[in-house]
């Protein structure tokens, strides 16, 4: 941009030398003083971009380091294996680890198949129409609703109307609704990215559409679909507001999916909010953050391996 602004008046001068009517005879020559050499500008931009990107990473690192420094010293084998005592002041978080796995796992087990099947329908089994646009719009709207609203809905519908009570299953169903849009949209993108040539070849060899979907499309789209699932697991593990009203706060080992279970995130919320024990709260947070980091790394490693195997 800078370059053009400077060179235009110069060209105008050349035009005048050729005898053409001089356009912009009073072209502001003093603009030349603002000239920044392009290579300097380039360096400034690169430096600026780097600094902004780094500050984003720095915030993330700061949060992680902060939580780890405060929490890790209190994470002991006993902390991971014992039930809490005296409201969480003593003991550990083993029921919460179990509860988190139960609620988040069940939610993804419910939402995963529904989301992937919806994405398959939207991409392979129907043409673009008002209906597909409506489904997509609905999914996007669902993604924008605050989680406490989901919690309220889950409480009224799953816990009360359907009589599932404040329980793991109520929480999981609520979470499943919340993560469904993410799974649908990421799966849809992944399926669309599969080259059309693969579909032609599969049809050309005499396969049915379903064989083509299961043997070629889903295989190629698996890394992308996996990304959506991992995002959903992360979101499920860290959710608090929606679960407060649906899976509840009972700090005991649940014995069935119809029991209430307190997740790690909710345990952290209780410990810090009610000032029960900050060291235990930070230790819980550390476990939570480490779990999410580990899931992401594992998923990343798994997908890299999968891609390397076929590519």
């Amino acid at each position: 941009m800078t370059r053009q602004a400077i060179s235009n008046p110069l060209h105008a001068d050349e035009g005048a030398d050729n005898g053409a009517p001089p356009p912009q005879i009073n072209a502001p020559r003093h603009r030349r003083q603002l000239r920044i050499p392009p290579d300097v500008a380039q360096r400034i931009v690169v430096g600026g971009l780097w600094a902004i990107a780094m500050s984003a990473v720095a915030v993330l690192l700061f949060i992680i380091v902060f939580i780890m420094v405060k929490g890790l010293p209190h994470v002991t084998p006993e902390f991971l294996l014992q039930a809490p005592a005296k409201g969480g002041r003593l003991g550990g978080v083993s029921p919460m680890i179990f509860g988190t796995i139960a609620v988040a796992g069940l939610a993804v087990l419910i939402a995963g198949p529904i989301g992937v099947i919806t994405a398959i329908y939207l991409t392979e089994y129907t043409r673009e129409s008002k209906l597909t646009a409506f489904i997509r719009f609905g999914a996007d709207c669902l993604a924008g609703i605050p989680s406490i609203i989901f919690g309220l809905f889950g409480f009224v519908f799953f816990a009360d109307t359907l009589g599932l009570g404040i329980s793991i299953i109520s929480g999981a169903l609520t979470l499943a609704l919340m993560v469904l849009p993410t799974i649908i949209r990421t799966s849809e993108e992944a399926i669309r990215a599969v080259p059309a040539a693969f579909r032609d070849v599969s049809f050309g060899l005499g396969s049915t559409r379903w064989q083509m979907v299961t043997r070629v499309v889903l295989r190629s789209a698996l890394p992308g679909i996996g990304t959506g699932i991992v995002l959903s697991i992360g979101r499920s593990i860290s959710e608090t507001a929606a679960l407060m009203l649906t899976s509840g706060m009972v700090a005991r080992h649940p014995s069935s999916v119809f029991d209430s279970a307190r997740t790690l995130a909710l345990h952290f919320f209780t410990l810090s909010r009610e000032g029960i024990s900050m060291p235990k709260a930070y230790a819980t947070a550390a476990v939570l953050v480490l779990a999410i980091l580990m899931i992401n790394l594992l998923a990343y490693w798994f997908m890299r391996r999968f891609i390397a195997r076929v590519r």
């Binding site: 043409r127 080259p195 040539a197 693969f198 579909r199 032609d200 070849v201 599969s202 049809f203 050309g204 060899l205 005499g206 396969s207 049915t208 064989q211 043997r215 070629v216 295989r219 190629s220 195997r309 076929v310 590519r311």
Partner: protein
Amino acid sequence: MTAQHKIHSKDLNLWYGDFHALKDVSIAVRDRMITAIIGPSGCGKSTLLRCFNRMNDLNAAVRVQGGLFLDGQDCYGARLPLTQLRKRVGMVFQRPNPFPLSIFDNVAYGPRVHGVTGKDRLAEIVEQSLASTALWDVLKDRLWEPALDLSAEQQQRLCISRLVAVEPEVLLMDEPCSALDPIATEHIEELMRTLAEKYTIIIVTHNMQQAARISKETGFMLLGELVEFGQTEQVFTNPRDKRTEDYVTGRYG
């Protein structure tokens, strides 16, 4: 049409929406030899090829009218289901396009889709299919490596093996060499000559020398019409139609 005609069409018309892409095409392709279809870009030669295994059906905007017959049997009739038609009439595409699977799984794809499950039977089919394209000796120790690691020529050979594995009767080839270098092209042409002993091959090509080199019969298409169809030598040296003459002598356009 006589018995030696493998595939024939009668007054075949095709529209892409409002665009009339094939106009009253009647062609009879003979069994176990190579038939070439030539013509400038956009003349409808690929569209015609994709009619023979009804690949055009995948495009919702396409409308087809007229008759199409495989061994005298109506390709649009109930007695020839789509999956069976495509098993018998297979296609090789312009770009080599193996699946992102192992070499073995690529070749075994078709048989598996058609219900072959036995490990020994699959291994046998894979060996025979790779042997038919002269890949077996080169690749027999690399069957579990990704197919995408192969060279372009090997990938195209693999795609032909993949097709041969479903035991088709007709091979449709849509400019199968246009993504390959001249040496690889020569190799694939050699392979096509060998395959023509067992299969009916229809090749679409914009390379006239290639058509002249490998085909027994040639059809010339222009603006959706089959202008001329006959012995390759006659089409190239003594064309009946002025438009054919202009094209094969390079005066087209």
